[in-house]
């Protein structure tokens, strides 16, 4: 996937040793956020098409979406080398950001693919 390969989570924030003081480089943070957003959106679209083709209906589709988002989070954490605190300021960002935004795209492409394959 093009989005993953050319987007290394960039830019660490520096952490000062004994005082545990974290400083943020705002620009890099923004870049990382953007990358999360892109990954999520791209995967929701692909996931929507897959769910439609496979014929998921109702609850199964939403469970699939949740699984997909979980996979995305896992992938992002793995890419960040399992030390998310150097790249993001809180766990919530990695796990939950862009969740709802992807949902609408997922539903749209899910409906589309499902209709094209199964109803028509």
């Amino acid at each position: 996937m093009a989005v993953h390969s050319d987007s290394a989570s960039s830019g660490k924030k520096s952490s000062n040793g004994p005082n545990e003081l974290l400083t943020f480089n705002a620009e890099n943070m923004q870049n990382n956020m953007k990358i999360i957003y892109y990954s999520r959106t791209f995967l929701s679209i692909i996931g929507g098409v897959v769910a439609g083709i496979l014929g998921f209906t109702g609850l199964k589709g939403f469970v699939f979406y949740l699984l997909l988002m979980g996979l995305t989070s896992l992938g992002l954490v793995a890419k960040a080398g399992f030390s998310t605190h150097t790249y993001f300021d809180s766990w919530n960002r990695v796990l939950l950001d862009g969740f709802l935004g992807g949902l609408m795209s997922f539903v749209l492409f899910w409906t589309f693919a499902y209709d094209i394959v199964h109803i028509f």
Partner: protein, 253 residues
């Protein structure tokens, strides 16, 4: 376009022509309109020579904000020095005498350029939406367009099936109007991928931006002044020499 009903199951079999001539064209049209809107907004954005005073104020605010974020990294005396420079009662940069606080909104509306810009943005947003909606309603009403894969309650029936007058049809079968709305919300993500970097600001976000108009210049200065006033200085690098020594040792060895 016919809707054939199989005897036993509740599934409707819909005509392929619906798929070819309704779903796909509608989506394609919406994507194209979004792209068109993006290009038109690029062409129409008039270069506006900014007012020198406003730019100066903006930069002062930025400087004050930087001071606030970096306050813990400068020695205490320097911080106090800078604080006084900004917040001094007589000639501090951020101090605005009461009489001179300008009302930005009045200024904004009286400035013709800005008003034109706002109007253009509003129009470029509303017109394609309205036109497309009218087109959908005119051409594509009165039949079942799609089936959404998850079940909904009966309450949504009036919203989703407004052209279809049979009340026994499952709520999952929706009219093309709801397909239009689904596209409207769902294509946001696609636009942000295609048009790159949040350029595809959709209507809901734009409307929220329009709603909250707090323009920086007016309250900005006094807000920043208050913020700096309450910032405590907490020296963050007390052992910096020791830490530098440790790092250097690690590097050398």
């Amino acid at each position: 376009m016919h809707v054939g009903i199989r005897a036993m199951a509740e599934d409707l079999v819909l005509d392929t022509a619906i798929r070819d001539w309704v779903l796909i064209p509608l989506s394609v049209v919406m994507v194209l309109i979004g792209v068109l809107r993006y290009f038109v907004s690029m062409l129409l954005c008039s270069s506006q020579t900014p007012d020198a005073k406003i730019v100066k104020e903006g930069q002062v605010i930025l400087r004050a904000r930087n001071l606030r974020t970096g306050a813990n990294f400068v020695p205490s005396k320097s911080f106090r020095l800078r604080k006084i420079y900004f917040c001094n009662e007589e000639n501090g940069l951020l101090f605005v005498p009461k009489g001179q606080v300008q009302n930005p909104q009045a200024q904004m509306f009286s400035d013709p350029n800005m008003a034109m810009d706002m109007m253009k943005k509003n129009l470029s947003m509303i017109i394609p939406q309205t036109l497309t909606f009218a087109w959908v309603n005119f051409f594509f009403s009165g039949f079942v367009a799609a089936k959404i894969p998850f079940p909904l309650t009966q309450r949504f029936r009036s919203m989703l099936q407004n052209g279809i007058d049979l009340s026994t049809v499952d709520v999952s079968y929706v009219s093309s109007r709801s397909w239009y709305f689904l596209n409207l919300f769902g294509l946001r993500g696609l636009f942000s991928l295609i048009l790159g970097e949040e350029n595809a600001v959709d209507d809901t976000q734009r409307m929220m931006q329009m709603g909250g108009f707090g323009f920086d210049p007016s309250k900005g200065l006094s807000a920043e002044k208050d913020n700096i006033d309450i910032t405590q200085h907490d020296w963050a690098l007390p052992y910096c020499e020791q830490r530098a020594e440790a790092v250097l040792r690690k590097v050398i060895s």
